[in-house]
């Protein structure tokens, strides 16, 4: 694999997960607020369907980010994380991303399932 492609996969792996989590979190919390507030009556947003869509999209992107990280990790498996750049740096970020993407995946799934299973707009 070329260095350019490795670098692209590395950055997508480390940044993609967090970005899609934050975007889906804002979208999901935002949709739930929009549905459960006075002005939303006339908009007729299908809450559960939208949330499932957001969650599914976000999970798909995270899986891709994790695959990208695994690819970079394997391509640099003979490299130590203190080794010289660029391969040391690539391996370092890939190692970190392997774990962070799993954490983001769990957050998205937890919230996505809970918001659908929960009785919509039930007061806390």
């Amino acid at each position: 694999m070329t260095l350019r492609r490795l670098a692209f996969l590395q950055w997508f792996g480390i940044l993609g997960g967090g970005t899609v989590w934050f975007a889906s979190f804002l979208a999901g919390a935002g949709v739930s607020q929009a549905v459960c507030n006075p002005a939303s009556g006339r908009w007729g947003i299908p809450h559960d369907a939208v949330q499932i869509g957001i969650t599914a999209f976000a999970c798909a992107v995270i899986v891709l980010a994790e695959i990208a990280s695994i690819a970079v990790f394997r391509a640099t498996r003979d490299v130590d994380e203190q080794d010289p750049p660029p391969h040391g740096r690539l391996h370092f970020f890939a190692s970190a991303a392997l774990v962070s993407n799993v954490i983001f995946f769990m957050v998205i799934l937890l919230a996505g399932i809970a918001t659908v299973v929960d009785r919509t707009c039930h007061q806390g």
Binding site: G30, Q33, A34, N37, P38, A39, S40
Partner: protein
């Protein structure tokens, strides 16, 4: 040269030297990063205010509330186009500067400044007109409307002051410092223009 084989950027004298340094340098300058991070902070501020707008919107059945006119569509969008068009001469000015063509850079900067000043004057006129029709102290709609627009106009005004200052500096010649400033200020304008797009669309969303 030195053992690191990199330019001593502050030693550059004259536009050609400065351009050579800019070509030899790897990656954005610290000045650019400083501006990018400042822009990130201001962008977050506008994102928060836009979020406030929509949060208040979903709390209110009537938006705008009774008695307050809906926002105009044509004038804001035309003015927005004028402002965003100003990104072109700003970018061309930065590119000319990096190529060492100082007179060209100054000309594009002046064109940008004229366009942006015209935009600003029209917006101040519109803002005053809005204030004569409804007040921020009447309803939260007015509060967020005038603050969001006012903050945007303030950032445009800051950009005008930056352009004026830069023009004054560039009249006296090109140094690495001034070229870095030109690149950073061009970036500032692109950011302000994108933010203004978001702000304008937010304000216009009241018509939906």
């Amino acid at each position: 040269m030195n053992e690191y084989a990199v330019p001593r950027s502050t030693e550059a004298r004259g536009a050609a030297d400065v351009a050579a340094v800019a070509r030899a340098r790897r990656g954005p300058t610290t000045a650019f990063w400083g501006m990018a991070l400042f822009v990130a902070s201001e962008t977050t501020l506008f994102a928060i205010m836009i979020g406030t707008y929509f949060y208040l919107r979903i709390k209110n059945l009537d938006w705008p509330p009774h008695g307050i006119p809906e926002p105009k569509v044509v004038v804001p969008l035309v003015l927005l186009g004028v402002l965003v068009a100003g990104s072109v001469p700003m970018q061309l000015a930065a590119r000319a500067g990096r190529a060492g063509r100082l007179a060209v850079a100054r000309s594009f900067l002046l064109v940008a400044l004229v366009v942006q000043s015209g935009y600003f004057a029209m917006e101040v006129h519109e803002y005053a007109g809005d204030l004569s029709k409804f007040r921020p102290a009447a309803h939260a709609y007015g509060s967020i409307y005038f603050l969001l627009l006012g903050a945007d106009h303030a950032h445009v005004a800051l950009g005008l002051l930056l352009n004026l200052w830069l023009l004054g500096k560039l009249v006296r010649g090109l140094t690495t410092y001034r070229l870095n400033a030109l690149s950073a200020i061009a970036f500032y304008w692109h950011a302000v223009n994108l933010i203004t797009v978001a702000v304008t669309l937010t304000i216009l969303s009241a018509r939906l």
